[in-house]
Amino acid sequence: MKGSSIRTEKISKRFGSFEALHDITISINKGEFFSLLGPSGCGKTTLLRIIAGFENPTAGELYLDDREILALPPNKRHINTVFQNYALFPHLSVFENVAFPLRLKKTGKRQIQTTVEEYLDLVKLTAETNKLPQQLSGGQKQRVAIARALINQPSVLLLDEPLSALDAKLRQHMLIELDAIHDKVGITFIYVTHDQQEAISVSDRVAVFNAGKIHQIGTPVEIYESPADGFVAIFIGETNFITGTVREMADNGYALIDTGPIGSLIVNADKKVSIGDTVKMTVRPEKINISAEDPQQLAAHVNVLRGSVEEIIYTGFQSKYFVNVADTLFRVFKQHINCRLNEKSISWKDRAFIWWSADDGYMVEVVHR
């Protein structure tokens, strides 16, 4: 592994009375593709700037391979950054932009030539060598920024919302390439984004931020499938929330919740609860089934509800149903798969049944009695 590990220890940052970061402790492994995910203004960029050396934290420590580096200026840390707006030098050609760090180090001419070519090749930009930044497309600028940040062979690469200026299609494409580059150079990537799709599709691990605090650190699967709290659940994709009181604890880790008009629901008791606690549970829309007829022959621990379809939105690869069950709106996503031929189609205002397995529901917040 060429990369280094990064560890933050209780980093806090205040701007006047505003607390941008609160006691952030993260440990990022060597070579890891690590994402900082959160809405704008949550502090993730501030943390990145602290790691890069552009800001000083109010408190806390920062370790690069177990070495405290807060005192080092940005040019002395083996960390480079890909800026959100690329920050290409507009007066320098693509070649000179990439060669810039080498020129500072007074590297020999021949050496510069070969190294720059190598990195331009890595980002597939050999054809644009002599162009100026303003002659490039967004994606190409992005590649220059990456090549330039990599040419110093940093042990950590910071990427600050690198794809936010690109259109959706290009973003997908660049994401795949970023992943490929990460695999090729093998250093640690710290990736800041507000887009949960981006974060979960490329990262080894993700830290979800909000309002200067970390809500959850985990693999993409962990944060999607078992969000630590309501914020994470709702930030990582759409979801349904149902609140109720624990009525009884079932055997083998399930709980029965009384939700008032909706009725009793059974849910995976992944948090420690006892009878009488108020619980907020969540279930993702794509995990809910829907049909016009009462589903028969269901396995154990399945919740079945009955409601009326208020709205159907057709999005091509799936349809979104909004089902009203006792004045609570459920979102249900359904793929169009025509393998159940005899299934009756559902239309607007129809009565419908929705059901899901208790294992697909998670408790996100618990208020103990």
């Binding site: 040019n75 950054t81 290409l88 810039f100 180090k105």
Partner: protein
């Protein structure tokens, strides 16, 4: 829309005539043999006098050029560095500095002239070409500041951060990134400074010392006491020089406009 274009083109034509009429008259009279403004036949005598018998005039041109170049240079350096600091950094008293840097632009220049004269008298600094240089640099700095700030504002500070990030020291960032980036602003600031300095009369009038007459001061004394229409010939030479410079420097101008 059409009638508006018609009206505006008429006004514009009149404005251009208004601008050029005095210059045309000067050119005409510079070839007038007579000393007064009545026509006395074609003659080049005033040009002869200008080029061969006007030592003090050329001396003042020399003074003007020296002051313009030196104050242009110093104000460009001070103003550029200041603009970098003001646009991209935060520090105590920044607001105050911004105001102080802007104020000389809006104050009537006679105030600057008067205050500097009293100041120089107060610190017992003898008036000379040096005091003219100090005064010119003072009123030039805000213009350079303005031009360079405007240019820098087109860029994000992240460009400089990127330079630091890639291993640049402060001086590398300044020489390799900031100055090349701001160059169009710096150049136009310098050109404006030189032009203003060559042009200035009021402030120079107050702070010039013995033998420190600049071209505008000399022209002023020619208007007041001049015994010959050499001034006409001088005007034509200046107009011609300006036109030649302007045309040959067309690229520079375009470069500035484009920036």
């Amino acid at each position: 829309m059409n009638s508006k274009r018609g009206f505006s083109s008429v006004v514009f034509t009149l404005v251009v005539l208004f601008f050029y009429l005095p210059l045309v008259i000067l050119i005409l009279f510079s070839f007038n043999h007579s000393k007064t403004m009545s026509w006395g036949g074609l003659s080049f005598r005033w040009y002869e006098e200008l080029f061969f018998h006007s030592r003090t005039l050329w001396n003042s041109v020399f003074n003007s050029v020296i002051v313009a170049l030196s104050s242009g240079l110093i104000s460009t350096i001070v103003g550029t560095l200041g603009a970098v600091g003001i646009s991209w950094y935060d520090f105590r008293g920044k607001r105050m500095l911004q105001v102080a840097g802007f104020l000389p632009l809006i104050l009537p220049e006679i105030i600057i002239g008067v205050s500097l004269l009293i100041f120089f008298a107060g610190i017992k600094l003898k008036l000379s070409l040096f005091t003219v240089f100090l005064a010119h640099t003072t009123f030039n700095i805000p213009f350079v500041l303005l031009m360079v700030t405007a240019r820098l504002e087109e860029f994000d500070f992240s460009i400089v951060e990127a330079a630091y990030d890639l291993g640049a020291r402060e001086i590398d960032a300044l020489l390799r990134i900031i100055i090349p980036l701001a160059f169009p602003g710096i150049l136009s600031g310098f050109l404006i400074a030189v032009t203003l300095s060559l042009e200035d009369f009021v402030i120079t009038f107050f702070v010039a010392g013995p033998g420190a007459s600049t071209l505008p001061l000399h022209v002023y004394s020619m208007i007041r006491f001049g015994v010959s229409p050499v001034i006409n010939a001088l005007s034509v030479v200046i107009i011609a020089a300006t036109a030649v410079l302007a045309l040959s420097a067309g690229n520079v101008f375009k470069y500035i406009v484009r920036k």
